[in-house]
Symmetry: C2
Subunit: 342 residues, 2 copies
Amino acid sequence: MSNNLTIALDIMGGDYGPRSSLPAAVEAVNLIDHLTLILCGNERQIRCELKKLDALTHPRILIEHCSEVVNNDDLPSSALRNKKDSSMRISLDLVKSGRAQACVTAGNTGALLAMAHYVLKMLPGVKRPALISTVPTQTPKPVYLLDLGANVTCDSEVLFQFAVMGAVVAEQAQNIDSAKVSLLNMGAEEIKGHESIKEAAKLLQCSEHINYIGYSEGNDIFSGKADVIVCDGFTGNVALKTCEGIAKLIVHKLTKALNKSLFNKFLALLLFPVLKKLYKRVNPDQYNGASLVGLRGIVVKSHGNASKKAFLAAIEEAVREVERQLPEKIRYKFEEIINKNA
Amino acid sequence: MSNNLTIALDIMGGDYGPRSSLPAAVEAVNLIDHLTLILCGNERQIRCELKKLDALTHPRILIEHCSEVVNNDDLPSSALRNKKDSSMRISLDLVKSGRAQACVTAGNTGALLAMAHYVLKMLPGVKRPALISTVPTQTPKPVYLLDLGANVTCDSEVLFQFAVMGAVVAEQAQNIDSAKVSLLNMGAEEIKGHESIKEAAKLLQCSEHINYIGYSEGNDIFSGKADVIVCDGFTGNVALKTCEGIAKLIVHKLTKALNKSLFNKFLALLLFPVLKKLYKRVNPDQYNGASLVGLRGIVVKSHGNASKKAFLAAIEEAVREVERQLPEKIRYKFEEIINKNA
């Protein structure tokens, strides 16, 4: 039933480079039998690692040699100008040329944004790309949060467009008709917050294309009242990283508390599987990766210190987005809105 | 050794009104023997409740009748104009007139900001007041976070001033010499974030009055690397409420996981005390309250749904701020900076 699909991987990106990306790649082709992967990076290093994994001759693993690597401290502008043969850039070029239908990287986010924007270009009518990811809620369904850091500030029109893109992503992923969309603000009252948010609220209230349910505050993110929560990239980044920090803090405090007596240590041992699962759930960034939406191609960004499991999850996300034809769905939605308004 | 001190309480504010504020007041005078409280609110209601608590004739409990209450949905401008005999306004008036040395309220934050600013006025040289509170870290010391919602946007000078005020608060509270101050940003790199943050970083780097340690990201808040973290009120509000939301989510998920089997239920029972303590620790807003700094008087804001314990904690915080002469310390610091720069 499923068509063959090809995904380009930036094998060199992230804190662990090939050590986490390559085992994830091998597991992905073993799990998904219609998936071909193009591994972008240092050929010698990739071959050496693939040999260890006994996957050197896998028919659905191809290697694209790249002589450069984008480092975590490379400035976006400099990476864009100078690293044209980097594993990150080549992964994007493969999507642009159509050889791959999506790409996955755990590399430098700033450089990725600059390169992806330059190489793939925006979908017609879309002003800015956004980073989107899910955050767990008290319901079985997660909530989609965007933007997570692609844009420091956003005007009301950009926030409106993020609402449209977020709704498409949530509706496709969760197979729902009309995603509930909310704007992140500092209070539920209409008078609070930045002017851009208040203006975006007016645009969303007037739009027949969006099921807008009003403002959310920071604590509402996890309540499940919305399917999509929209904010500027600065706010989204702080909110997501605050989640990461507090999850770490809770594990730290709990570990300390559970180490206080022999009885508590015994408890901790029994509790370990529950806590491990919980930590992963409340630490979304680390485990889900984020997608860059609004571009003419699919780009999934795994966390910089992604483990093999996290990188695999990012590959699987890319596969799902290809199957859902996400950029096309966003393009249709924008055409619909533009035509209606024309 | 300690001098008598008098604090005005807005008894009517918050979701529970007298039900949580009055028992807290009675406990406070019983705990702190040099403390006198002026209870501002509906005299009949207060007398009735005090009678139930067997504290109607307590020599250090005074009642100031107020005919109005600021509601949670009152607009700040309207509360300021129309509620001059409200329990919130009278509490502030008592500080202004010198009859009380501080006031505590769990009422409408927006109205409180407007009224406190109008009644008490800013300290010389201070441009804007800020809401400040502590957040737990992985070290035994908490970190002070400001602004938590008094100002939606802040220019670089305001952020610089918040750094100065935050440092004074942390140094006084933790008895340290030179508090480590950080700016909350979306990345550790110098090129990231709002212009106001980058400008504030330059001001702080150049200042001999502040021990500035660079940017923090959302996840760094809880690491303990800084004593004070500065941001605009929108960002601080989202970060603090995100903490509140994720703490609730974790309790929810853990409760669910621990309900899955009889064995897990047994575990939950054993774990309950550890978890309860942890929840309180990672849910700072709910338990600590926040202080309004930069004004010519001490104002402590308890959480809207403050329990008796939380309201008591807010009274104790007000007592400590009076003893530390916090507004005077901030005034000295600003004079020092202004004189040096003159």
